[in-house]
């Protein structure tokens, strides 16, 4: 049971839990930083920083510094150090960051004994804490030797080809460096349990390799604490704590000094008890940090005797642990190399399929390469628009429905567990199929995503002692106390509701696949929005078309009906001439209706068939159109001017013929001048090319210019100017739009009209051109 609280909640009402009243029921709240005692392998001083006067001191100064603790209270640091050392100390205090922990300040010589000490400092709550530790004089390496040895160790670490081998080298090297009898690497599972994954030990010791420890052995607060300090060291489990005196210095106003960062701080009795039960006499613990998270611990135990690691010996080990943390990522990447590259390949194949196929289901489930290719899972569920598609061995749709609801409550877009029934009890019924789950969600807005299922792995777990009994009840006379467990005897258990671990590369694969899919979703959504807008526009166009068509066709129909009725009603009332006139009206109305229907048909055909783009000589096409018009009206008396430089362009010949025919016909029709002229040309200096048809006709008043392209909209009576039915310009415009082009006009009354048009989309919009 290790030390738990670095930042405990300062509860007001109940008395603080300290070494005096801690037991296992409350050790998670023990305020170990307020212990007011230290271990005996050094000296602690509490000072006022500005005056360097001593407020509180550990009760063991005499044997270290040659001056009794009582004699030091109220004195300044000058009672221990000479002027030169005090000056050096002051300059260190001015420059070093002492807020985040103890830092080595300098090596000093004590004035009373002439003995040398390492001096460490920490600033906390406006107080200066100084720790004195003896240097290592017996086993001193020269700096060069230390460097060469470190270098050799790093070379060996580099040579390892897998994470496990790497960790094996690490524990061997640390045992070699430190001389601890047992050095273990301990890896945390996501649930806080741990397993010894590498061990280096003296041959006479029992092996711990492969043993599991329950989460309560190293609870979450303790794991956080390990993240903060590069090294924890307990040289003698059976040490006698040294109190700080006086217990309540008047200057502290009843406060207790916060020893959170103290290297010498006295540890929790629960922790030393736990270690004693394990048969350890001394320990040292280093964190292994991967990707900024506590991956595991290097735990060093000494069983035969207490063991003290002086500062000099700790430095290279600390350094080594940091290098290890940095190298771990690379080592892990070497694991599963083949598997990783297969996952990569599958990802690429799925991405290609997603681009190629219409639906996600087709791309991810139906294909030869699918969501179960490569990845170590037996089943998968794909949820798209709330619709479930299953592949392989999966829970039922109903069970997945429940699971999806639960997954939606988990944080983040990617989630994995190897112990689903423990996290989500409803999963107990399908744990055989799905004890492990890896899921991605495409967006936080809904539950669409992918869930991979991994079956339960029947596995024998060796626990260091019964994991279900982490504590024992001890009766001491009248008192009943909880104590750390004493038994670490091998305890075998068959795990249930657990799958194999999800590997980092599998999580990475899932994350990348999620990215690919959500990118495609975003693209498809914007495409869909575009198509929808287009559809809405064409729907509105159709509605307007249907309305206009029915309305305008009804008019002649009603006329026919009315005149037929009139004839019937007026039988024998009027002269035969009058009746004949009525019949002629009916006939002319049927002709008008026929012409309307014919135009309507032409108009709708323009939009029906696909564009048939061919290289077309526009000059020839215009000449042919004029010839056709001339044949139909030999005596129209119009002077045509065709610009000789009309280009050859790719266009739909049939439709472009209709455009020129209608525009030229319009130019001839609405012209009351004696000398009618029509000019056809283009401006090739712009892109796309702008064609024009210019006449010297009657012109279009400015207010009606926007109406001329409306279906059946005439500006003149049906009998004027050769009787149009208001479809010519509408049809031309439709043919132009079909090419992606546009049509516009310049016109002034009695002077003439020029229609301009293009046969390709504008490269930049008109607005931008103006800007």
């Amino acid at each position: 049971m290790p030390e738990a609280n670095i930042n405990p909640i300062q509860s007001e009402a109940p008395p603080p839990i300290t070494a005096k009243n801690v037991d296992l029921s409350n050790c998670d709240r023990e305020q170990i930083h307020l212990v007011n005692a230290i271990q005996p392998h050094g000296v602690l001083l509490v000072l006022n920083e500005s005056t360097l006067s001593i407020i509180q001191v550990s009760a063991n100064t005499e044997s270290f510094l040659g001056l009794s603790s009582e004699a030091m209270i109220g004195q300044t640091i000058d009672c221990l150090l000479d002027n030169e050392n005090v000056a050096a100390l002051r300059s260190q205090l001015a420059t070093k960051n002492l807020a985040d922990g103890f830092a080595h300040l300098l090596t000093v010589s004590c004035v009373h004994t002439n003995e040398r000490f390492h001096l460490f400092g920490n600033r906390i709550d406006d107080l200066l804490l100084l720790e004195f530790e003896r240097p290592n004089d017996t086993e001193r390496f020269s700096d060069t030797n230390q460097f060469l040895r470190l270098n050799n160790t790093i070379q060996q670490l580099r040579g390892s080809t897998s994470l496990l081998q790497f960790i094996g080298v690490v524990v061997d090297q640390i045992r070699d460096w430190t001389g601890f009898e047992r050095v273990m690497a301990y890896r945390f599972d996501t649930d806080g349990c741990g397993e010894v994954v590498a061990e280096s030990k003296s041959p006479e010791l029992e092996a711990y390799l492969g043993l599991h420890y329950p989460a309560s052995d190293i609870p979450a607060p303790a794991r956080r604490l390990f993240m903060l300090s590069p090294l924890r060291h307990l040289p003698n489990v059976d040490y006698l704590p040294v109190p700080l005196i006086p217990e309540n210095p008047p200057l502290l106003n009843g406060r207790t000094v916060d020893l959170s960062y103290s290297f010498l701080r006295s540890v929790s009795v629960m922790y030393s008890g736990y270690l004693r039960n394990m048969g350890a006499k001394a320990t040292m613990v280093l964190p292994l940090i991967k990707d900024g998270e506590l991956w595991g611990l290097i735990s060093c135990l000494h069983h035969s005797t207490p063991k003290y690691m002086p500062y000099e010996s700790r430095i290279p080990v600390e350094f080594l642990a940091q290098i290890m943390s940095q190298m771990m990522n690379d080592r892990e990447k070497m694991d599963y190399y083949g598997y990783r590259s297969q996952l990569d390949q599958t990802l690429h194949q799925l991405a290609a399929a997603l681009e190629r196929t219409k639906t996600f289901e087709q791309a991810l489930v139906s294909g030869k390469v699918n969501l179960l290719t490569t990845i170590d899972a037996q089943g998968v569920a794909l949820i798209i628009n709330g619709k479930l598609t299953l592949l392989g061995k999966t829970p039922t749709e109903q069970q997945i429905g429940l699971l999806v609801v639960w997954l939606a409550q988990q944080d983040g877009l990617i989630f994995s567990t190897r112990r689903l029934p423990h996290d989500f009890p409803l999963a107990q019924t399908f744990k055989v199929i799905a004890s492990g789950v890896l899921s991605i969600r495409f967006s936080l807005a809904n539950s669409d995503g992918i869930i991979w299922f991994r079956p339960e792995a029947q596995q024998e777990v060796s626990w260091a002692g019964n994991p279900n009994k982490p504590v024992e009840v001890i009766e001491e006379g009248q008192e009943i106390r909880l104590s750390p467990r004493t038994s670490f005897a091998l305890w075998k258990e068959y795990s249930s509701g657990q799958s194999r671990f999800w590997l980092t590369c599998e999580l990475e694969y899932a994350k990348q696949l999620r990215q690919v899919i959500s990118d495609i979703m975003v693209n498809r959504t914007s495409l869909l929005t575009q198509i929808n807008a287009e559809l809405e526009r064409s729907n509105a166009e159709l509605e307007a078309f249907a309305y206009v068509a029915s309305h305008d066709l009804k008019e002649p129909l009603r006329g026919i009906h009315n005149f037929a009725e009139l004839i019937k009603l007026e039988n024998n009332v009027h002269s035969p001439e009058k009746r004949l006139r009525r019949i002629e009206t009916i006939l002319s109305l049927t002709n008008r209706m026929d012409s309307l229907l014919e135009s309507l048909l032409k108009y709708s055909r323009i939009g029906l068939s696909e564009l048939d783009l061919q290289s077309t000589h526009i000059g020839n096409l215009v000449s042919q159109s004029i010839d056709v018009l001339k044949q139909a009206n030999p005596e129209m008396g119009v002077t045509f001017t065709i610009q000789p430089t009309l280009p050859v362009i790719d266009c739909d010949r049939m439709r472009v013929e209709i455009i020129f025919h209608n525009l030229i016909l319009n130019a001839i029709k609405y012209n009351d001048k004696a000398e009618k002229t029509v000019e056809i040309g283009c401006n090739t200096s712009v892109n796309p090319v702008e064609f024009y048809v210019r006449d010297n006709g009657i012109g279009i008043p400015i207010h009606y210019q926007e109406h001329v392209f409306q279906l059946f909209r005439r500006l003149h009576g049906s009998d004027e100017f050769g009787g149009g039915n208001g479809t010519g310009l509408t049809t031309a415009q439709k043919a132009i739009k079909r090419h992606g082009g546009r049509i516009w006009m310049e016109s002034s009354e009695n002077v003439g009209t020029t229609f301009y048009f293009t046969l390709a989309p504008d490269l930049i919009s008109k607005k931008e051109m103006i800007r």
């Binding site: 008019e555 129909l557 009725e565 003149h716 049906s718």
Partner: protein, 144 residues
């Protein structure tokens, strides 16, 4: 009301005008009828209060307005008519083939006094015109 104030029919189709006149005659309508084929001409006339062509110098007492007209259509006419400064006090009744709800509501919101949808059958047209003339010339009082 003076019996000689005319009814103005704005209608470009000769056939439709002929049928309307026939129907009005049939129900014994006696007011003079004047016809315009162009809404913009009527507007010009009303704006200037000038007499033009065969126009009676009396203002019409009621206007029957077709919607589907070349150039200025019925809707535009209603809009422009409202825009005249101190418009003459003449009710305008729309007579159209269109039964499009948006046309009906647009006309009323532009100040139309009524909306008559031209039916296919001559009998019903006669009936509708009978009601219309009863309402405007017998029931309600038109401005002098």
């Amino acid at each position: 009301m003076k019996k000689n104030r005319p009814l103005l029919i704005i209608e470009d189709s000769d056939e439709d005008f002929e049928v309307t006149c026939w129907a009005l005659d049939k129900i014994g309508f006696t007011h003079p009828i004047i016809r315009a084929t162009r809404a913009e001409e009527v507007l010009l006339h009303l704006q200037s209060r000038a007499t033009a062509g065969d126009w009676n110098d009396l203002l019409p007492c009621l206007v029957l307005l077709d919607l589907n007209l070349p150039r200025m259509n019925g809707l535009q006419f209603l809009k422009e008519f409202r825009a005249i400064e101190s418009p003459p006090a003449i009710p305008i009744v729309v007579v159209s083939t269109s039964n499009n709800p948006s046309d009906v509501s647009t006309c009323y919101s532009l100040g139309a006094a009524g909306y008559l949808c031209k039916p296919l059958s001559l009998d019903s047209y006669v009936e509708k015109l009978r009601y219309l003339t009863h309402y405007w010339f017998d029931a309600v009082t038109l401005p002098e």
